[in-house]
């Protein structure tokens, strides 16, 4: 899997949603997304200078997280700033793990992570299998009822939703291992 692609695919919608939840208009939210991603890219050199740096992948996710949380705790119209010293400051700064912004961030991060993984898996399964999974696992419809509706056996609905769930879980797991 491609780390940067996955990173952008998760972070773009995430940052956008965070900005919107802060009351940003569409265009401003789009600017904000670009701003954070640019700041992250500009800070790549910092990764090299960090003592206990871990992998590049993990670093990508961590710095973006700090930037986003830092942004949310700022006044609305203050620009993020992507100068080197500001980046250094943001990296050194550890957001309060119990702070409101951190909580919101981790919820929205989990949401985008699941959605991203679901999209990956959806591409690889048939539309019918996806519907079976969706109706019984997300919409919470009774399995027997859905099976009857599709003219399938109960067992095959169980199999379809379980296969998809496992793949979603593994997709998330793989990404998290790489981003740790």
């Amino acid at each position: 899997m491609e780390a940067w692609d996955a990173f952008v695919e998760i972070y773009e919608p995430l940052l956008f949603r965070l900005a919107r939840s802060k009351g940003f208009q569409q265009a401003d939210a789009e600017d904000f997304v670009q701003e954070v991603l640019t700041a992250v890219a500009k800070a790549v050199g910092r990764w090299v200078e960090t003592e206990d740096r871990g992998t590049f992948r993990a670093w990508l996710f961590r710095i973006a997280q700090n930037l986003a949380i830092n942004f949310m705790t700022r006044p609305k119209h203050q620009r993020l700033g992507s100068g080197d010293s500001q980046i250094a400051g943001l990296l050194a700064q550890h957001p309060d793990p119990h702070g409101e912004s951190t909580q919101l961030f981790s919820l929205e991060y989990r949401r985008e992570l699941f959605r991203w993984a679901a999209e990956q898996v959806r591409l690889k399964v048939s539309e019918r299998q996806w519907r079976l999974f969706w109706m019984t696992s997300i919409d919470n419809q009774p399995i027997a009822q859905v099976a009857a509706e599709f003219g399938l056996s109960v067992g095959s609905v169980y199999i379809a939703r379980s296969r998809i769930t496992k793949r979603i879980r593994e997709t998330i797991q793989t990404l998290e291992e790489q981003a740790r």
Partner: protein, 488 residues
């Protein structure tokens, strides 16, 4: 991993068989057997659910995938914002797969493929009609740009004919400020034409990157474009799609080239004069073009006026959220004069632009040649220090003449407007003022990499390695970036 837990007494209830159902090949006999068992064993159905993800996972999955705000609950589609850069990057990988299928195997592994005697290096751009490739002519030893008719059009006779006609028309124009057509292969399964390769960027990309140009640059590019246009007009052609993305600027030499006669048609081709369909980019269209009525070479002068305006201000003269609204404004609204947006623009240039942007063709310059002469005179005055900056702030605003009665018919009659939303060739409604972040990112990463040295070399290698092992280019390359492609 607990295999055969105590609550599963029967041997055939073993976890291994359930894992087969989760990961195995659905067509295999083992899978079928296990599936048949699960049908009659409730314990295994529960165990199957548990093995695919624990209770927490199922619950979190439901909570987080449940539609919210902008999602489409019926289709289960999530609303996940993506920037245009990301969308283009995804498109590009799809495009590459598609293009590779049209090419034969390359002679060098770093090439994309081969097309006759041409080695294809990469995709320059993708548009509604075709794909533009950077290639190398192995017989004549020179780089070329190859325009390939899109595969879905190659099977359509009319599209092939139009492609051939476009190529013939464009090949007839030989001029130092028009991109030359070297060769046309219309009998190939996927027809293509081979053009002069211009290393550089489009005017669109230049302005997006650096903002409005200096007065002398505007005049120079204006003079050269007008002379190229005059050459096309002398062949009886109307370009029909003069816009910043179709003006290429060669690196290191001060030379502009007019390209992409994609919509150009011989003006005596009656069957195509009035099609009732407006196609192309709306921002640089003339009112008569927006109107779908017969047009002549003065339509190109309006478009070139819009291009001069774009160079002077960084944006086209008429802007709106939707393409239809752009056309309406083009037809009915006066433009804001260039000197109001940019105080550096001298009256002489601003006046030329105003004249080109006249709604009625007869009020514009009569020919591209006349425009070229006019621009040359202003350029020479500028070089001799004879120009003054605009001092017009207070004077009478006589710069526009409202168009009355023009444009009504077609807009009301519902002209079909081909807004190729799926084609990245289209400019976004408003130009992007700053370079897209991912372009900056590539540059800044490269700069960072280059600025590192000495003891950090190991780190550099590691970073480089990680970037390489991303398998796909981590950022879209600048020269592939839509919508500001050169040579599209």
């Amino acid at each position: 991993m607990t295999i055969g837990s105590s609550h599963l007494p029967e041997e055939r209830c073993a976890d291994q068989r359930l894992y087969l159902l989760l990961d195995g090949d659905e067509a295999s006999p083992e899978f079928q057997q296990a599936a048949a068992h699960v049908e009659s064993c409730a314990a295994c159905r529960d165990r199957l659910t548990e093995l695919s993800g624990d209770h927490d996972h199922w619950q979190t999955q439901r909570e987080l995938l449940t539609p919210i705000a902008d999602d489409q609950p019926d289709t289960g589609q999530f609303y996940r914002y993506r920037s245009t850069e990301t969308i283009f990057a995804q498109r590009r990988s799809i495009d590459e797969t598609m293009v590779k299928q049209m090419l034969t195997a390359p002679s060098h592994p770093e090439m994309l493929g081969r097309l006759g005697r041409y080695e294809v290096e990469r995709i320059i751009g993708v548009g509604g009609m075709g794909i533009v490739l950077k290639g190398f002519d192995t017989e004549l030893n020179r780089p070329v740009a190859i325009k390939l008719l899109a595969p879905h059009l190659s099977r359509i006779g009319a599209a092939r004919q139009r492609f051939a006609r476009e190529a013939r028309a464009a090949a007839a124009v030989v001029h130092e400020h028009v991109v030359s057509i070297h060769n046309v292969e219309s009998n190939h399964a996927n027809p293509f034409l081979v053009m002069q390769y211009i290393p550089g960027e489009s005017l669109q990309a230049r302005v997006d990157r650096g903002g409005p140009l200096s007065v002398s640059e505007i005049l120079r590019i204006g003079v050269q474009s007008a002379s190229g246009l005059a050459a096309a007009h002398a062949q009886g052609l109307v370009h029909r799609d003069v816009k910043p993305a179709n003006i290429l600027l060669e690196n290191d030499v001060d030379r502009a080239y007019l390209t992409d006669f994609g919509l150009a048609r011989a003006s005596d081709d009656a069957s195509l004069t009035y099609t009732g369909i407006v196609s192309g980019t709306p921002h640089y269209m003339s009112p008569e073009q927006a109107d779908g009525r017969a047009l002549d070479q003065r339509s190109d002068l309006f478009s070139l006026g819009s291009v001069l305006y774009f160079m002077a201000t960084g944006h086209p003269p008429f802007r709106a959220e939707r393409p239809m609204a752009v056309l309406k404004r083009t037809c009915h609204d006066p433009h804001r004069p260039a000197w109001e947006s940019n105080a550096e623009i001298p009256d002489e240039l601003s006046d030329i632009i105003d004249r080109l942007l006249e709604k009625q063709p007869e009020r514009r310059f009569a020919t591209a040649l006349e425009l070229q002469k006019k621009l040359e005179r202003v350029l020479s005055d500028l070089q001799q220090g004879k120009l003054r900056l605009s001092r017009r702030g207070k004077s009478n605003r006589t710069w526009w003449i409202a168009a009355i009665g023009l444009c009504e018919t077609a807009l009301l009659a519902g002209v079909g407007y081909v807004w190729m939303t799926s084609a990245p060739k289209q400019e976004p409604p408003t130009p992007i003022a700053m370079p897209p972040a991912s372009t900056q990112s590539v540059e800044s990463i490269q700069a960072r990499l280059q600025s590192l040295e000495g003891p950090q070399q190991a780190d550099l290698d590691r970073l480089q390695y990680e970037l390489i092992t991303l398998e796909v280019t981590p950022f879209p390359e600048a020269d592939l970036k839509e919508p500001t492609n050169a040579q599209e």
